[in-house]
């Protein structure tokens, strides 16, 4: 076994800077062995240590009466009553998905599923937030097809429904797509499992798939010693095995029923290393492992490779001493390896052996939780103020609302996502009340009257123009989507996708975004219970827009109170809740029709948003609204058109009459003022809704009625436009397939 000599250069090749190198040498009191260097490099990588982001993430509100587990564990847990809790998290798999879209996306789903069931929860819903480059980019169609098929095949195979998400297109993602996967699981509130390696003498079990050279730290390549090695030594792309993951899921949940587990954690990024160090770290204990006992898929693997392998579908379990047989029995029933590879110690050190020889001997704590923490320099991006200046008087005046609406309904960012979600099993497990196509997904909890609502949202253009406000708006939209079903927003998870943190303007955007998320979460009382940071989304100097994806979870106490997002009855009154100012800054309309991405995102009044959200819940509770739909990207006209589209294609229409009151017509129709919802109700209920709204200071305007077949628009009593819903639907449906039909 030839190992490279460990030097400051090799450390640099592992991404450790001189100061970090010095630090690890002092921690050890000597030069590290090669495996030890590998351990430091992954544990102190941005990915595992959050060294650039920790200092900011501290600002998040993370506690609340219902929070049973906040950030720091594999996933967050929130109490939903009746003895039940939900466990959820969102994670990025951006870089792998760009390199190999199908496997990258698939293993992303596999990873987030493990994060959730390792907590003792049965996954019951998946969502995903995707961002791709411009549709005309040669790579885009291939990336979309691969990513969607990968997400679908993995979730479909393991039998977890995919019930929602979002897809955003922008040139800034040409070289860095985003694949953020969200999973929510259900568990008993008093049966939460955690990643703790406690109790000296307790056996440490390796369970699941065998270890191969999958996705080993790229730095191995950088070390000359390996460059002459053959093809088969090369680290390889991780391939997902959803069948094995399904067996692993069932085996883990079955074992959790028995009283055998002290702690459990999946082997995600940095595989065996991070799971063992994090588990020992949390418990403040030590751990002893014999690597030669690890089940291996390939021959000639080295300790370094075994420690750093990112082979999928593996977990580390610390079992109660004496329950070894229980563990083996359950896993053999499911045809999986379960091997005791070591034990918990009280030394506080990680001692790792290879055929009897000690190859790693280091203190756990300094590695796991004394990783470097940086307050990286921050600076407002140059041209920031300039891009926020928007002169609407320069725009050609707005003549043809019909044409604009038609073009918008078919455009990449607003067209129907049906092409995507028909490839996802949306109804397995027979809980899906509202699936994709609804403002928020709604999944019932069997044995109760409850249902859980979920929505993923972020508008990257807003975040680019103002990371602080844009992030607040993402939280607000997610909460509004939840409330449109009648549910109460409870908490969020996030996935913060940014460029290179060593660039001061990226760090500035990041800090502002975290501030924004924090303030909105405080105002809406939705704490952050889990999340994930993805930096370095950048290719040759070109970073992505700041993209803090928000995954919000809400609760509907009685599923019979649910409200759909599309119109239900001819003759119903259409009501706009919230005030329309006609704000065009950062809008889809400006970008699509005028190719302008300037101005400031719509201002958000957190207090008003909270009142609206409470009103929506009340309207649901009192069974007053027949439909409620969030008004966001595309503005009022797009929202109304979406209300006309019904899941089964038995579409309705609307006759809409608006007062311009001197506003720009395009702003009135396509402006994206926040805190607005299009609702419909029976004529009898309308007055009651106006009263409830007035009492709460929410502006409520009757803007029309539900009619068949057409979308008719009157401004100040003058007919402005009439479009047939079937044409509109055709445009809306054709948009997405046309993007992917190209090879």
């Amino acid at each position: 076994m030839v190992e490279p000599k460990v030097t400051v250069e090799l450390a640099a090749a592992h991404g450790l800077n001189a100061e970090e190198w010095a630090r690890l040498c002092t921690i050890l009191g000597r030069v590290p062995t090669y495996p030890e260097l590998g351990i430091f490099s992954v544990m102190w990588s941005e990915h595992c240590s959050y060294k650039s982001s920790r200092i900011h993430l501290k600002k998040f509100p993370t506690s609340g009466p219902l929070v049973l587990q906040g950030p720091g564990e594999n996933a967050g847990v929130v109490d939903i009553g009746d003895g039940w809790a939900v466990c959820f998290k969102m994670e990025s798999h951006n870089h792998p998905s760009y390199i190999e879209p199908y496997q990258g996306a698939a293993t992303g789903v596999g990873g987030i599923l493990r994060d959730v069931f390792t907590m003792g929860a049965r996954p019951i819903a998946n969502l995903n937030a995707l961002a791709f480059g411009q549709p005309s980019h040669p790579k885009t169609p291939h990336l979309i097809k691969g990513v969607v098929a990968g997400i679908g095949d993995y979730g479909n195979c393991i039998g977890v429904p995919t019930v929602g998400g979002q897809v955003f297109f922008h040139p800034c993602y040409d070289g860095n797509i985003l694949v953020n996967a969200f999973t929510l699981g259900l568990l008993r509130a008093d049966k939460i499992f955690r990643g703790y390696a406690s109790g000296a003498g307790n056996p440490v079990f390796y369970v699941g798939s065998k270890t191969g050279r999958d996705g080993i730290h790229g730095a191995t390549m950088a070390s000359a010693e390996f460059s002459d090695q053959t093809e088969q030594k090369r680290p390889t792309v991780q391939v997902g095995d959803p069948f094995t993951e399904k067996l692993l899921l069932e085996a883990c949940l079955e074992l959790m029923e028995q009283d055998a587990i002290v702690g459990i954690q999946d082997m995600g990024a940095a595989g065996l290393t991070s799971s063992s160090f994090e588990m020992a770290g949390r418990a403040g204990s030590g751990i002893r492992m014999e690597l030669d006992k690890v089940p291996m898929r390939e021959t000639g693997m080295t300790p370094y490779e075994i420690l750093l392998s990112e082979s999928q579908e593996r977990m580390l379990i610390v079992a109660k001493k004496g329950s070894e047989e229980k563990v083996k029995k359950v896993f053999s029933k499911w045809g999986l390896d379960a091997v005791s590879i070591g034990e918990v110690t009280e030394t506080g050190r990680a001692e790792i052996f290879w055929h009897g020889e000690k190859v790693v001997d280091m203190p756990v704590a300094p590695v796991s939780d004394q990783a470097p923490m940086y307050d990286r320099p921050r600076k407002q991006p140059s041209g920031y103020e300039e891009q926020r200046r928007l002169d609407l008087s320069a725009l050609p005046d707005f003549r043809d609302p019909e044409d604009a609406l038609m073009r918008m309904m078919g455009c990449p960012n607003l067209s129907s996502r049906r092409w995507v979600y028909t490839q996802y099993d949306q109804s397995v497990r027979t809980n899906t009340v509202f699936g994709p196509g609804s403002d928020a997904a709604l999944v019932r909890i069997k044995g109760t009257k409850k249902a859980v609502a979920m929505s993923l949202d972020v508008n990257p253009r807003y975040c680019h123009l103002d990371p602080y406000e844009g992030s607040r708006l993402a939280v607000a939209e997610a909460a509004r989507n939840i409330a449109c079903t009648g549910a109460k927003p409870l908490a969020i998870t996030d996935c913060l996708n940014f460029g290179n943190p060593e660039r001061d303007h990226v760090m500035w955007e990041f800090a502002a975004s975290v501030e924004g998320l924090s303030s909105a979460c405080r105002e809406l009382e939705t704490p952050v219970v889990s999340g994930n940071v993805s930096f370095y989304n950048e290719t040759n100097g070109e970073g992505i827009f700041p993209t803090p994806a928000v995954g919000m979870v809400g609760l509907l106490d009685d599923v019979d109170m649910r409200v759909p997002s599309s119109f239900q009855e001819l003759g119903d009154v259409v009501i706009l809740l919230g005030r329309t100012r006609g704000h065009l800054g950062g809008s889809e309309y400006l970008s699509l029709i005028h190719n302008i991405e300037k101005g400031t995102p719509p201002p958000l009044d957190g207090a008003k948003e909270k009142t609206l959200i409470e009103l929506l819940q009340l309207l649901a509770k009192e069974r007053l609204a027949h439909s409620m739909h969030d008004c966001s990207e595309g503005g009022l006209m797009v929202a109304v058109a979406e209300c006309c589209f019904r899941p089964r294609g038995d579409d309705l229409g609307a006759s809409i009459s608006l007062q311009a009151r001197g506003k720009r017509l395009d702003g009135l129709l396509f402006g994206e003022d926040a805190t607005r919802v299009v609702a419909s109700c029976s004529p009898e209920s309308a007055q009651r809704i106006f009263d409830l709204a007035r009492e709460r200071g929410v502006e409520a305007t009757p803007i029309g009625t539900v009619i068949p077949e057409k979308l008719a628009l009157l401004i100040d009593g003058q007919p402005m436009a009439t479009v047939s819903i079937s044409e509109l639907r055709a445009r809306w449906e054709a948009g997405f397939p046309s993007l992917v039909s190209r090879l």
């Binding site: 098929a149 679908g152 479909n156 959803p242 069948f243 067996l247 028909t422 109804s427 397995v428 899941p647």
Partner: protein, 238 residues
Amino acid sequence: MKTAVIEFPGSNCDHDAYEWPLRLFGKPPERIWYTSRDLKKADLVIIPGGFSYGDYLRCGAMAARSPVMEEVKAHAERGGYVLGICNGFQILCESGFLPGALLKNRTLSFLCREVVLRCETADSPFTGALQKGSLMRVPIAHGDGNYYCDEKTLRRLLGEERVAFRYVSPEGRVCDEWNFNGSMDAIAGILSENRRVLGMMPHPERASEALLGSSDGAAVLRSAAKAIDEKNGAAKNG
């Protein structure tokens, strides 16, 4: 009616199939692990949907060759009732209970959506409570549901009225547009010679509650219960 649900490694609609009789009749079925050889005296054996063995190699291929399937075969040969849903249908074809095979969807992609089914014969234990020609809304969720068989077999299936369901338009017409997976003759489900084995790609167990969008699928299990209870009653009294 006593029901049993077979569970294979990787099956993921087994919970749904289990809860189906439970919800409709309050009677929990037996769960039968794929290595077992005891069907617990079930009248109706349900082979659930969902990726047994990950759908690796061919959908249903490995499950079709597991020990429990020999018992299911014996059960069927004794005149027992078997319902295969989605992957269950694929397993029944792979193990030769039912003719033909299920190829990749013509879209070459997984398809999950509500479809409209037309009942093609009321003369079976699974469709007895339905009118011939009646429509039901039921979801599909599969990558390989494109039914194929050779000409001879097809003629035989048609001659013996063994096509149980077809994919149709909301108006009840067979048409290419609504035959999403491209199945031969828009076939969604077929019966065995003795009509006591039904294999179908759509998921009636997912459409048995208004809350989830449709309760049309319940008729399949209700029909079976009626037929089986009558037979058992007759057996007792006769």
